[in-house]
Amino acid sequence: MIKFIRFADALSAWFGKAFAWLIILMAAGTGYEVFVRYVLNSPTAWALDVSFILYGTLFMMAGAYTLSRGGHVRGDFLYRLWQPKNQAKIDLVLYFLFFFPGVSAMIVSGWKYAERSWRYGEVSVNSPAGVPVFQFKTVIVVAGVLLFIQGIAQVMRCIHCMRTNEWLEAEEDVFETEDLLMAQHAEAEKDAHP
């Protein structure tokens, strides 16, 4: 079970991180558009389409990664006061009640939606450049599948937590500055007053 959780965490993280680098492309591409518009006086026809395709792909593909690292916002002012095993019980029920139906709908109907788009090689209507969007619509399906796999891992996490009363955290290699600083501070306090 723990093996599968680790596998799903790694899978989600791999996809999330790989597509996260699109931000660099996005900054460079949009910067390029500004440059050619003002300096060379010849704006591109594709910049707008490309920027939202990059943005949409980026955040959709990061959905599962964010879930595995507990990054989706919760209304947790009561939740945080509960014992981990009680948190896990509630979560477990809600994963089945809310998460899987929604994500399954995303995969199934996303598939139909993307398939239709592939069939006639759909291109964006925003510009005459004819930027293809069928691959972009496929992102919905892929994001859904990744979420589904991560969801199974989250359910296992809940079961694990109900047994041990302790959340099995995903391996983490990047931290928000505030979390890092607070952790360091807590560590230093512990050393100062053992």
């Binding site: 999330g16 591409g29 949009t30 989706h72 919760r74 500055t177 807590a186």
Partner: protein, 472 residues
């Protein structure tokens, strides 16, 4: 049950579900689909294929056709369409770029230079360290827009310095908490982009409108800090010579040139190009991100690990905000299809309120929501409930948005979920108590309320710039 009653049930049930602490994006998605299935249910669609089956069709064919019929509901198309709308939203494309700029600037080793420079520059002002801390917070928060980072970095830098100079503990904490929170208000802020995406108000006008109110609030904060320092010098003693050294004018000038100016220039370049119509917010944000990288390289802070962190954290935070939109777009279109919006607006009309009463009620509700919830949930989920009501009272959504943005400053400062205070407590020395931090935030809360009242009495603070630049 009639449809509008179902809509109200949907909203009520959702609020209960939020309190269970499940990731809200998925709660919204599932409830949108669930209630949408009911709303768009069409018996003919369900049985159409099944009735066409041959008499002697096998059990597998019948079962699968039946299942397909069950899934033949327009809600599924609506859900995917709404998802795609979020994915191709032109306004939201600026979100990851501004976040990226923020994460880069946050890691550029800039804040300590900025604070020590301003500390020396403001030496002769009453409450000089407090003023320096506040301005550093405001500037740094404007450039990064990430409240937690500003509060913790400044909490490690400015709080010990102020405590050493025998500042009052809660006074010093309040300055940092309130100053760090300004990043979500002063443009280019991400909160305003999110409001623009939720309300269809032009983001450019919103930025122009938020400038003067933002400065008004900073001004009020400064008045409070210097005023209290004058009236109660023991709360903010003058720092001694070795705490803040005297430096010759030419060296100070050099310090300002290398710390204050580049960051201010970056902010002005980004904001200016948006306000003067030279670039869309997305383009300006990408310039800001590239500029942030240049800045980080110039400060020799550009390391591979920091770039990776910025890239990954950008993806996570963008996913957090935008998946919330995916859920709420579906949820709210089902809600209004069921007639929920209509029934609420009828109810509010029946209350026979004057515009000022309505405005007060809305702001009080948003203020109260800010206690347990964070700004992203409030703007994406709850503010859209008020938006259709604004025309009834002839309130401009632009004006409403600015009031909300001011109001949500408080959501970081009020318990039980005062994020700013918790961040500060997380890194403060143990003798600084959480209650002292809250007490220190209170006067700043009052400043926020005063600024909101000022906006109401002099709406021109909001409208002057947008009308001047883009006509009314």
């Amino acid at each position: 049950m009639t449809d509008p009653q179902v809509a109200l049930l949907m909203l009520g049930l959702f609020i209960v579900m939020v309190f269970l602490g499940f990731p809200i994006a998925f709660t919204l998605m599932a409830m949108g689909i669930g209630f949408g299935y009911y709303a768009y249910f069409d018996e003919r669609r369900q049985w159409r294929a099944f009735n066409r089956l041959e008499e002697d069709a096998g059990w597998w064919d019948s079962a699968s056709t039946y299942a397909e019929g069950l899934l033949n509901n327009r809600i599924f198309d609506l859900f995917i369409n709404q998802t795609y709308t979020v994915m191709s939203n032109e306004v939201l494309t600026a979100v990851p770029l501004f976040l990226f700029m923020g994460y880069i600037v946050e890691r550029a080793n800039i804040v300590d230079r900025l604070f020590s420079t301003l500390n020396i520059a403001s030496k002769n002002v009453p409450g000089s360290m407090g003023v320096a801390a506040l301005i550093t917070c405001a500037l740094f928060a404007t450039a990064t827009g990430i409240v937690g980072a500003v509060v913790t970095l400044m909490g490690l830098l400015a709080l010990p310095a102020m405590l050493k100079a025998r500042y009052d503990k809660s006074f010093a904490s309040g300055i940092i908490c309130a100053g760090g929170t300004l990043g979500i208000l002063i443009p280019p802020s991400i909160m305003l982009i999110v409001y623009a995406a939720a309300s269809n108000v032009s983001i450019v006008r919103l930025y122009a409108a938020a400038l003067l109110p933002g400065f008004t609030l900073v001004g009020l904060y400064l008045v409070y800090v210097t005023g209290r320092s004058i009236l109660q010098p023991s709360a903010a003693p003058r720092p001694s010579e070795d705490e803040v050294p005297d430096v010759p004018g030419i060296k100070l000038l050099f310090m300002i040139l290398t710390s204050f100016l580049p960051l201010a220039f970056l902010i002005l370049a980004v904001l200016g190009s948006i306000l003067f119509g030279l670039a869309t917010p997305t383009e300006a944000a990408s310039i800001g991100a590239l500029g942030g990288i240049v800045l980080a390289i110039a400060y020799r802070a550009m390391k591979w690990q920091r770039l990776r962190e910025s890239v990954y954290l950008t993806a996570r935070t963008t996913a957090m905000v935008c998946w919330l939109f995916v859920g709420s777009y579906t949820f709210s279109s089902v809600f209004s299809y069921l007639g929920g919006e209509h029934v609420i607006s009828e109810f509010v009309q029946g209350l026979d309120m004057s515009p000022i009463m309505f405005l007060l009620m809305a702001q009080v509700i948003i203020f109260l929501l800010g206690w347990p919830l964070e700004w992203s949930e409030i703007i994406i989920i709850f503010v859209p409930i008020f938006l259709p009501l604004l025309p009834l009272f002839e309130i401009d959504p632009l004006f409403f948005g600015i009031l909300v943005a001011l109001n949500l400053q408080t959501s970081f400062l009020t318990p039980p979920m005062a994020m700013s205070a918790y961040y500060l407590k997380g890194i403060a020395p143990p003798e600084v108590k959480l209650t002292q931090i809250f007490a220190g935030c209170m006067p700043f809360l009052i400043c926020v309320f005063i600024s909101m009242a000022l906006m109401y009495i002099f709406p021109n603070i909001v409208f002057y710039l947008p009308n001047l630049m883009y006509g009314s």
